[in-house]
C-alpha cells in the first residue's frame, strides 16, 4: 500500500467510525467482500442476518429504538433487491437508515454482469437520496452526507452503492469536512408569526384535539407535547405511528383514531372545533375520506416536511419545523386552560365504548394484558395484521420509542428482525415482538441470528392458523368468501424455535399465559412463545363507511 493512501473499503470503515457507528447489520456477497475483509479488522460489531431483508429491518428497529441511525449492508444484485422491502419500510415510516450496497466493478456496469442490478435506479423512489460512487475519493464525502441526510430533517433511508473495484481502489482518506448540500436546508424552527396565530386559535378553542403522529423523535419533543396537552387540557388521539408519542395511561389519551380507531377518538375528531396535527401526515388509514374528515375543525398542522402540509388535508395554520421547537414555543406562549365539559364528554364516550373482552381460552388481548402486567416497560414491536391493531389498543405504552410498528408500508415480517435490532440497541430494556403466524413465518430465519448473537428477544406468535386481517376483510367486504387465508394447522412454533437455537414455549390454556411469559422474559436467550389462539376474533372498531363515525364495533 502506498504511503498515506488507503483502500476504498478502509475509507468506508473510517467514515463509519467517524459517524460513531459501532454496529452494522448485513450479509456478505461477492461485490461487498472487500468491505467484509476490512470489517474483520475493525472494532465495529457486525451482526450477520440470515436474509438481507432481515438486516434492513434490524437496522431500522435499532434506529427506531435508539434514535440513532441504523446501518446495513448487502452485496449487489439479489443482496440489494432483498434490502428493498426493508428500505421502503424505513422510508414510509421516516426511519434513519444508511444502506451500503456492493455493486459490480465499474467496467461491468451496464453489461448485465453477474449479480448486477440497477440498485440506485430501483431505490430512487424509496430513499431520501442515493449515491452510485465512481471513485474511492468520493466515499468519505458521500457517507458523511448520507448520515447527515438520514438523521436530519424528516429522517429517512439513504443508500450508497459502491462498485467492488472502487472498494479495492487506493484513495486519500477523507478530510472529515462537514457536508455542504446546496439543495438541502431542512426548516427546524417554526415561523414565529404562524406560531402566534396558532396560539391564538388554541386559546379560543372550545373543543380542541391533538393528533399525534410518528414524528416525535426526541425526548424534548415528547415532553413538550405532554406539557401542551396537559397545560391546555386538550385530549390526545394518535395514529398507529404516534402511539408511543404520548403517555397512553394519561386520562387525556383517547387512543388510536382512524380506520381502526377507538370510538371516543373518532368522536373527538368529528366534533372538534380545533385540531392540532403534530408530526403526522394525515394518512388515509387515519382520516378515511378526506371530504368528511373533521367537518367542524380549524386545523393547525405542525410538520417538519413542507410537502406534507396541504398534501392530504388543507390546514388553516401550517407550521413547518421541528415539533419539539414549535410545541415548546406554543407552551411558552399559552397560559394554562381547561375544557372540562369537552374532556368529560369524550371520557364518557370512552367509558361507554370500552375495549371488548373476547371469549376464548387464549386470546390476543389476554396475552397482551398479561404481558403488560408482567412487563409494563417493554418495548413492544409488532408485525402487521390483526394482532398489530390489538397491540395498539391493548398494550398501553408510556415512554418515547416504546411501540415500534410498520405503519406506513405495512410490512409483514417486520416484527421479529426489528425487535432483534431494537434489543441490540437497547439491551437495558425488555423487547418483545408480537407477531401473527403469517408474518412470523416470513422472517423467522432471523431467530438463528438472535441465537448466534445471543440477543434475548421474546417473540409472541399469535398462532390462529389464518391470515387474520385478510380473513376479516373477506368477512366484511367479500361476502365471507374466505380464500387463501387458511394457513393450515401444521406448524409447531416452539419446536421451530428450538431447532433454530432458541427457547420455545407453547401456551394452550389461559392459566399458562403468564407463567410462559415470565419464563420467556427470564430466559436470557431468544425465546418464542407459541400462543395457540383458540377462537380467532376480528378486531374492532372498524370503519366501514364514508365517515369515521360509520363503524362496526
Amino acid at each position: 500500500m502506498k504511503k498515506g493512501k488507503i483502500t476504498g473499503a478502509k475509507s468506508v470503515v473510517r467514515s463509519l467510525e467517524a459517524q460513531a457507528v459501532d454496529l452494522i447489520f448485513g450479509y456478505p456477497g461477492g461485490a461487498n467482500l472487500p468491505l467484509y475483509d476490512e470489517l474483520a479488522r475493525a472494532s465495529l460489531r457486525h451482526v450477520l442476518a440470515r436474509h438481507e431483508q432481515g438486516a434492513a429491518h434490524m437496522a431500522d428497529g435499532y434506529a427506531r429504538a435508539t434514535g440513532k441511525t441504523g446501518v446495513c449492508t448487502a452485496t449487489s444484485g439479489p443482496g440489494a433487491t432483498n434490502l428493498v422491502t426493508g428500505i421502503a419500510t424505513a422510508y414510509m415510516d421516516s426511519s434513519a437508515l444508511v444502506a451500503i450496497t456492493g455493486q459490480v466493478s465499474r467496467h461491468l456496469i451496464g453489461n448485465d454482469a453477474f449479480q448486477e442490478v440497477d440498485t440506485t435506479g430501483i431505490t430512487i423512489p424509496i430513499t431520501k437520496h442515493n449515491y452510485l460512487l465512481q471513485n474511492a475519493e468520493e466515499i468519505s464525502r458521500a457517507l458523511t452526507e448520507a448520515f447527515y441526510l438520514a438523521g436530519s430533517g424528516r429522517r429517512g433511508p439513504v443508500l450508497v452503492d459502491i462498485p467492488k473495484d472502487v472498494l479495492l481502489e487506493q484513495c486519500i482518506s477523507g478530510d472529515g469536512a462537514p457536508p455542504h448540500l446546496e439543495g438541502y436546508r431542512p426548516t427546524l424552527k417554526g415561523h414565529p408569526g404562524q406560531i402566534k396565530r396558532a396560539a391564538a386559535i388554541i386559546k379560543a378553542a372550545e373543543r380542541p384535539v391533538i393528533i399525534v403522529g410518528g414524528g416525535i423523535q426526541s425526548q424534548a419533543a415528547y415532553e413538550a407535547l405532554t406539557a401542551l396537552a396537559k397545560g391546555q387540557d386538550i385530549p390526545v388521539v394518535s395514529t398507529l405511528m404516534g402511539k408511543g408519542s404520548f403517555p397512553n395511561s394519561d386520562p387525556l389519551y383517547l387512543g388510536l383514531y382512524g380506520y381502526h380507531g377507538r370510538i371516543a377518538a373518532n368522536t373527538a375528531i368529528t366534533h372538534a372545533d380545533v385540531i392540532i396535527g403534530v408530526a403526522t401526515r394525515f394518512g388515509d388509514r387515519s382520516t378515511g375520506s378526506t371530504l368528511h374528515f373533521a367537518p367542524q375543525a380549524r386545523i393547525i398542522h405542525v410538520d417538519i416536511d413542507p410537502a406534507e402540509v396541504g398534501k392530504n388535508i388543507q390546514a388553516l395554520i401550517p407550521i413547518v419545523g421541528d415539533a419539539g421547537h414549535i410545541l415548546g414555543e406554543l407552551v411558552a406562549q399559552l397560559e394554562s386552560a381547561s375544557h372540562p365539559e369537552w374532556v368529560r364528554r369524550l371520557q364518557a364516550k370512552a367509558t361507554a365504548h370500552p375495549l371488548a373482552d373476547l371469549r376464548g381460552e387464549v386470546t390476543i388481548p389476554k396475552v397482551l394484558r398479561g404481558l403488560k402486567r408482567l412487563c409494563p416497560d417493554a418495548i413492544l414491536v409488532t408485525d402487521v395484521g390483526r394482532h398489530q391493531i390489538f397491540a395498539a389498543h391493548y398494550f398501553p405504552v408510556d415512554a418515547c420509542r416504546s411501540f415500534l410498528t410498520s405503519g406506513g408500508l405495512g410490512t409483514m415480517g417486520f416484527g421479529l428482525p426489528a425487535a432483534i435490532g431494537a434489543k441490540i440497541g437497547r439491551p437495558d430494556r425488555p423487547v418483545v415482538a408480537v407477531c401473527g403466524d403469517g408474518g412470523f413465518l416470513m422472517t423467522c430465519q432471523e431467530l438463528v441470528a438472535a441465537a448466534v448473537e445471543n440477543v434475548p428477544v421474546v417473540a409472541l406468535v399469535m398462532h390462529d392458523n389464518c391470515l387474520g386481517m385478510i380473513r376479516q376483510l373477506q368477512h366484511a367486504f367479500y361476502g365471507k368468501r374466505f380464500t387463501s387465508c387458511d394457513l393450515g394447522n401444521v406448524v409447531d412454533f416452539a419446536r421451530l424455535a428450538e431447532s433454530l437455537g432458541c427457547v420455545g414455549l407453547t401456551v394452550e390454556r389461559d392459566a399458562e399465559i403468564e407463567p410462559a411469559l415470565e419464563k420467556a422474559l427470564a430466559a436470557g436467550r431468544p425465546c418464542v412463545v407459541d400462543c395457540r389462539i383458540d377462537a380467532p376474533a376480528n378486531v374492532y372498531p372498524m370503519v366501514t363507511g364514508a365517515t369515521l363515525m360509520d363503524y362496526i364495533e
Partner: protein, 156 residues
C-alpha cells in the same frame, strides 16, 4: 390549468431520472420538458409544463424541492414569464405554391433552413401560441415531418 415550472439543479448523472420519476410516481402529468445548461457551472435548468390546479402545482413544487439535487424551484406565471418554443417542419411544396408559402413564412417570422427541390425545411420560433399558429397555417401543405421543442421560460 397549465403551469410552467422552472427548476435549477445540479447537473449530475441521473438527475433527469429523479425529476421525471417523481412526476410519474406521484401522478403528475408532464406536458413538456426541456433541459439544458445554464450560466452556472455544473448546474442545469429544467422547464416543465404541467397540467393541474394550484394544489397539484404546490405539491409538485414541494416534492421537487425535496430532491437533494434540486436547488430551487419556481412557478413561473405566464404574465411574468418570457416563454419560447422552437419548431422544425419539413414540407413537400409544389412549385406553384412556393410563393404563397413564403408569404406565410414571412408573416409568422419563420425561416427556410434548407431546401432541396420541392422539399423545404422551415423553422419557427416564438411564444407557444405563435408556434401553434404557424403549424396550423402549414397544414395546407404536405408536412413530411415536424418536431417542436418543449417550452423554455425565464422570469422577466
Amino acid at each position: 390549468m397549465k403551469h410552467t415550472i422552472s427548476i435549477l439543479c445540479n447537473d449530475t448523472p441521473g438527475v433527469l431520472t429523479r425529476i421525471s420519476g417523481l412526476f410519474s410516481r406521484r401522478g403528475f402529468n408532464i406536458e413538456s420538458l426541456s433541459v439544458g445548461n445554464t450560466e452556472l457551472k455544473g448546474k442545469s435548468r429544467f422547464t416543465i409544463v404541467v397540467q393541474g390546479d394550484d394544489r397539484v402545482l404546490e405539491q409538485v413544487r414541494k416534492q421537487l424541492q425535496k430532491l437533494i439535487h434540486v436547488i430551487k424551484v419556481w412557478d413561473i406565471t405566464p404574465e411574468a414569464a418570457i416563454e419560447r418554443e422552437h419548431a422544425l417542419i419539413k414540407v413537400d411544396v409544389e412549385r406553384h405554391r412556393k410563393g404563397e408559402l413564403l408569404q406565410i413564412l414571412t408573416a409568422v417570422e419563420g425561416r427556410i433552413i434548407s431546401s432541396s427541390g420541392s422539399m423545404w425545411t422551415l423553422e419557427v420560433t416564438g411564444e407557444p401560441s405563435q408556434v401553434d399558429n404557424a403549424l396550423n397555417l402549414f397544414k395546407d401543405y404536405t408536412i413530411v415531418e415536424s418536431i417542436r421543442t418543449g417550452r423554455i421560460a425565464l422570469e422577466r
